[in-house]
């Protein structure tokens, strides 16, 4: 029953494949070097990961060309991507996939559009993302600033025109297709028809973009928002595992460093002050592993609770791990030429992404009936 909190053999094999690829193609020095180029996402790496290993179509049913796997496997991929702060649109594409899978079920005649897109995602031909600010939490009543013509929309598949702006979208730059929630419905837009402007982003390994629509052609995908919250919830679950991976990597790097760095004639890792902080971090990470696994496994209302718990806990642990990584490396950890800052920026941004910890606690308060007043 509680084996769901462990990793299966299949999952460990998938992990090893992703880890090998990242060790080979995404050492931190090249991740850092890429951040100051015009192409902050790595298309070759994404191709190898997405179609080579099949991470792009992980959640897509086998009859549509995917792997027919679950969020559990996706979470294992995310752990490894977190360890490498890898610049690929895995998370954004995963949320878009979840949205399409949910839209396929709503049965208002747009299933064919969803299926077609899912097939193309699984084959690696297309990368999709949801055009929504990356800070939005799953329980947000999202309105946005994109208007639709015709309005109100008909239920059956039809073309429409979108005008307006969505800020701080993650993974939009390398995407081919945008899924645009606007005014309560969700539309499909070709990325080449929108204006996508990368912005200067705190997390340099997951660059955000502002997306502008100006009477842009679009196709109805879903008449209501349900698939959106489902997608964001899945994204938040998987993000917790990414945060776990990041925290593990920070701890590992730091432990290695304090074993070899000598001051006052001793390895600094022999001082109890540092030891106790690292041990506390290890305890937190062991807990993060349990809650992240649970968030990737739970369903229904239990999933909502599990995801809120995981987002609160893993956000804090990843930030703590990255902050300790900087501090315990001393001066070198504060420089540009050491990976610590990549982790710090990813951790802090991820803690805000898909809802801040405070936001998830508020949601949890509703779910477990602990009202504020």
């Amino acid at each position: 029953m509680s084996d769901e909190l462990l990793y299966s053999e299949t999952e460990e094999e998938l992990r090893a494949a992703v880890a090998d690829l990242l060790a080979d193609r995404a050492p931190w020095a090249s991740v850092l070097a890429r951040t100051e180029t015009a192409e902050p996402y790595d298309p070759e790496l994404w191709k190898a990961l997405g179609t080579g290993i099949g991470a792009a179509g992980l959640l897509i049913p086998e009859d549509l060309g995917g792997a027919g796997a679950s969020l559990r496997e996706a979470a294992v991929v995310a752990e490894e991507l977190g360890k490498a702060v890898a610049p690929v649109p895995f998370l954004g594409n995963l949320m878009a996939t979840e949205l399409l899978l949910a839209a396929r079920e709503t049965g208002n005649g747009t299933a064919a559009i969803a299926e077609d897109l899912l097939r193309r995602i699984a084959s690696g031909e297309t990368t999709a993302v949801i055009a929504i600010p990356f800070s939005r939490s799953p329980d947000t009543t999202y309105k946005g600033r994109v208007s639709v013509t015709p309005w109100p929309p008909r239920e059956d598949p039809h073309e429409a025109r979108l005008t307006g702006r969505v800020t701080s979208v993650a993974g939009a730059q390398p995407a081919d297709v945008l899924l645009v929630p606007s005014d309560g419905s969700i539309y499909v837009v070709q990325a080449s028809d929108a204006q996508i402007t990368p912005v200067t982003t705190l997390d340099m390994t997951r660059v955000l973009s502002d997306v502008e629509f100006d009477d842009t052609p679009a196709q109805l995908l879903a008449i209501r928002y349900e698939p959106l919250s489902k997608a964001l919830l899945a994204g938040a679950a998987v993000l917790a595992s990414e945060q776990l991976g990041l925290a593990e990597q920070c701890l590992k790097t730091t432990v290695e460093y304090v074993k070899t760095r000598h001051q006052f004639g001793r390895a600094i890792g022999s001082y109890q002050g540092l030891k106790h902080r690292l041990a506390q971090l290890w305890v937190q990470i062991a807990q993060a592993r349990a809650v992240a696994r649970y968030a990737a496994s739970a369903t229904g209302k239990e999933q909502e609770i599990a995801v809120a718990v995981a987002q609160v806990h893993c956000s804090a642990v990843a930030v703590q791990a990255a902050e300790e990584c900087v501090q315990m490396h001393g001066g070198i950890g504060f420089t540009w030429e050491h990976p610590a800052h990549l982790y710090l920026k990813r951790a802090k941004s991820a803690s805000i992404a898909l809802g801040s910890p405070a936001r998830h606690r508020r949601r949890l308060a509703e779910l477990v009936e602990l009202p504020a007043g």
Binding site: S270, A372, G373
Partner: protein, 396 residues
């Protein structure tokens, strides 16, 4: 007897046993003795000593079957030290005669055991202990003071570590005994704690005679024997699955739900933060159980105890802040002698005070963090100056 190859075989064996031993028609002690003699007590123990040499993870099957049949249990909480610490040590280091003498009445709950390890001068640093044992013919004569002894006032037997050679480094000069708590020279005094009650005892030993036949392990090997005892303690403290909102967080959450007046919105975020911490600790314990069941024992036991202590202290501290006036009052300072800790049944102030002991008893939080840092993370140990010095020359 047939070998037991499947869960089904085991269930059949228990079924057969119950067919001939009706729990309703047998006295409790007779039933437990019969269960022991049938090898259905602790299944992983060897045949003849209450077990069948089965894997540890079969035990829940037996417990479930006996409970379903309404069979009496051996009150495991009351004899926890015997079951968890004394028994594995006797099994590991005792002679055949010693095992035969002690294990059956121990498991059946006829004889309660306690543990005489800690001393006023040797807490975290157990190997510094000073209780002297001097050889005298076939006996040893033991004098010293032990402390933090649960159940000493009810125990028939104690496991005891002593110093037999003060002239060698501290880890080398210790010897391990079983002490008859009714022997002359054993004095048990209650040790009152800040909650007002006395769960523990101080035990004063004055020229107590212990026959050499009650020694466990070789002379000078007490440290090694004690390690077995302590390792089993940590496994026992470790994991276990429990439902959501078990323990203190459940009390706090219920109090929040029940008393709309007390819901200070500025404490809401902290309440939820602790709720999440408690849920994370719970899922982690559950994951640990699953790992153990899957045969992947991890070092998370120390972490679980550390997290439990920290959480209990934070939750009970917030509870008092939340309650305001009610928290200024207390239920009862009278000196009592409880057998177990009742976190839920007593007042919020009691929870707050008693939780302070959680980070001290059974390994301080500082020692647990040291263990994680050194044994799990592989960080270098402190520089030690006490390892090669004769015990008698150590600073204290």
């Amino acid at each position: 007897m047939q070998p037991l190859n499947t869960q089904h075989d085991l269930e059949n064996r228990i079924h057969d046993f119950l067919a001939t031993h009706d729990p309703g028609a047998t006295s409790k002690l007779d039933f437990l003795r019969a269960r022991f003699d049938a090898g259905l007590a602790w299944l992983h123990y060897p045949p003849g000593l209450g077990g069948l040499g089965l894997p540890r993870d079969q035990q829940p099957i037996a417990e479930k079957a006996f409970a379903a049949a309404g069979a009496p249990d051996n009150e495991p909480r009351r004899i926890g030290i015997g079951l968890g610490m004394a028994a594995p040590t006797i099994l590991g280091f005792g002679s055949e005669e010693q095992k035969q003498r002690w294990l059956r009445p121990l498991w059946c709950g006829e004889e309660v055991w306690c543990q005489l390890f800690s001393e006023p001068g040797a807490g975290s640093d157990l190997a510094a202990l000073a209780t002297r044992a001097v050889r005298d013919g076939d006996d040893w004569i033991v004098s010293g003071q032990k402390v933090w002894t649960s159940m000493a006032h009810e125990a028939r037997w104690a496991i005891l570590v002593t110093r037999t050679d003060p002239d060698v480094p501290k880890h080398q000069g210790m010897t391990y005994f079983v002490l008859d708590m009714t022997a002359p020279g054993v004095e048990v005094r209650p040790l009152r704690q800040m909650t007002g009650e006395a769960e523990f005892n101080e035990v004063f030993l004055t020229d107590v005679r212990i026959p050499d036949s009650q020694r466990l392990g070789a002379v000078g090997e007490g440290w090694k024997v004690a390690q077995t005892t302590l390792m089993n303690e940590r496994v026992a403290i470790g994991g276990g699955a429990s439902p959501r909102e078990s323990g203190m967080i459940g009390v706090l959450a219920q109090s929040w739900r029940d008393n709309e007046k007390l819901r200070d919105p500025s404490l809401h975020d902290r309440l939820l933060t602790l709720w999440v911490a408690a849920e994370a600790a719970r899922l982690t314990a559950q994951r640990l159980s699953a790992q153990l069941a899957a045969g992947q024992p991890g070092p998370e036991g120390s972490a679980a105890k550390y997290a439990f202590a920290t959480l209990n202290q934070q939750i009970s501290g917030l509870e008092l802040e939340l309650l305001g006036e009610e928290a200024l009052r207390y239920d009862e300072w009278t000196m009592r002698r409880p057998d177990t800790v009742d976190f839920v049944g007593r007042s919020p102030g009691y929870r707050y005070l008693r939780a302070k002991g959680n980070s001290i008893e059974g390994g301080t939080s500082e020692i647990l963090l040291n263990i994680i840092a050194e044994r799990v993370l592989g960080l270098p140990g402190e520089i030690r100056t006490d390892k090669d010095v004769a015990w008698k020359d150590l600073p204290r």
